[in-house]
Symmetry: C2
Subunit: 255 residues, 2 copies
């Protein structure tokens, strides 16, 4: 390329790894991250353990961050955003803005690793009362509690007696236009089910699913241990609604 | 790399695409294929239509083969095998044998794309009588019949009234040591179910499954059309045995 520089947009797992690899191959790399902190969603959303291997997200991301921060070929631009790009590869020109300041950077290639947003079931579906009942939570909410080793009912701070996971909320759902399978929720739910059984051994845990779509390493790392070692109950069926009865939630579904 | 040459072992879809890409990036490439023909399993095993898009396997592979055969940076070694390799990247030395002849090739990198073998249910599991009943066939057997537009009962050459697919034969099976999900059978079975309904419209088609693991493009390209447009019957359950009753097979299972 005309200019050996590679600009990586986003400093989550994908961006960090892309930056490190390109720099190891000899490219000069600029990483642009809109947040102040590096590490992306696993850090900003307080992920607990990652699949596979159940490694601490903080520890695993810490290693990836160090590899980039300490790399002689990599420059970091945090709290920054790419606001304009012109030209075409391998002669690109980018504007990187940091607050009121901005700089022009020329690059031979740009790697876009801008990540994703978690699905918001309160905004997209009203079915399960996410905005209505404090004890209806998302995988992301649960992940943060598991990381803090404080998995409780948000409504009263007590540990739950029963926990129900509902799969395919926001995916495989034609009503809201998301027809695809998001591919990771089966694995993450099952991972969290194991963590709940580790942190709250008296809780019973149920996973309501259409199809459990775990494959590859998940089969042996998570799927079988969840059932056999941690006694998680997998129930094929779709949950149709969640109601409040006394101070407890009732999950209604169909097989 | 010390020598710009890349050696690709295997001329199936992965090897052909890797060779083309490396050559487009400027590397000199040698493709080594043990068979006389290029194209790998889709050609040698007579695949019908590929996912996604239901394109003819012959046509799609033909394009990939042409791109490699006509490429000025690519040399082909068919009916050949790599029999020895020494050194370490980027200074590798390989021996390529063709019958009694052999040549030494130096390379900076080697891409191994040696493919896979189809699972043989007759050798690995006796459960379903693959070697016993001619009308018990594999996905690969069905694929060849579908390609020939001649989907019949091998025992008598008649079109079948009912067709049952059994999922997870040879995968997710601890008894034979294959604990993983092989990840493609749900998609291929559903694709074939559609093709059967197209070629033999009077046949009823059943798919017995543990979990349907289709995701991404398969969801809309195959999974929903199979159910809604082609009326394929998905049945959750494990088939325990196949018996012969008169001249027909009986499928016994549990829900």
């Amino acid at each position: 390329m005309a200019d050996g520089r590679v600009v990586v947009i986003g400093a989550g797992p994908a961006g960090l790894e892309a930056a490190r690899l390109a720099a190891d191959l000899g490219a000069r790399v600029t990483v642009v991250e809109k947040k102040q902190a590096l590490g992306g969603m696993p850090i900003s959303a307080n992920y607990a353990a990652l699949t596979h291997g159940f490694r601490s997200a903080e520890e695993a991301m810490g290693e990836m961050i160090s590899a980039v921060v300490d790399h002689p070929n990599i420059e970091l631009r945090t709290s920054s955003q790419v606001t304009a790009m012109s030209g075409s590869a391998p002669e690109l020109s980018l504007t990187i803005a940091n607050g009121d300041a901005s700089e022009e950077v020329s690059a031979g290639a740009v790697i876009v690793a801008t990540g994703f947003r978690h699905f918001d079931p309160g905004r997209e579906t009203q079915q399960y009362g996410y905005y209505e009942f404090p004890d209806v939570i998302t995988l992301a909410d649960a992940e943060a509690m598991l990381k803090a080793d404080n998995f409780v009912r948000p409504s009263n701070g007590e540990v739950p007696e029963r926990v129900a996971f509902i799969q395919c909320v926001g995916s495989r759902d034609r009503q809201i236009g998301n027809e695809f399978c998001s591919k990771v929720c089966c694995g993450i739910s099952s991972k969290q089910a194991i963590e709940i059984r580790q942190q709250v051994p008296d809780a019973r845990v149920f996973i309501f699913y259409i199809d459990m779509r775990m494959y590859g390493y998940w089969e042996n790392d998570i799927y079988w241990p969840a059932q056999e070692q941690y006694k998680v109950n997998y129930v094929k069926g779709i949950v149709t609604e969640i109601l409040l009865k006394g101070d407890k939630l009732v999950v209604r579904g169909e097989d």
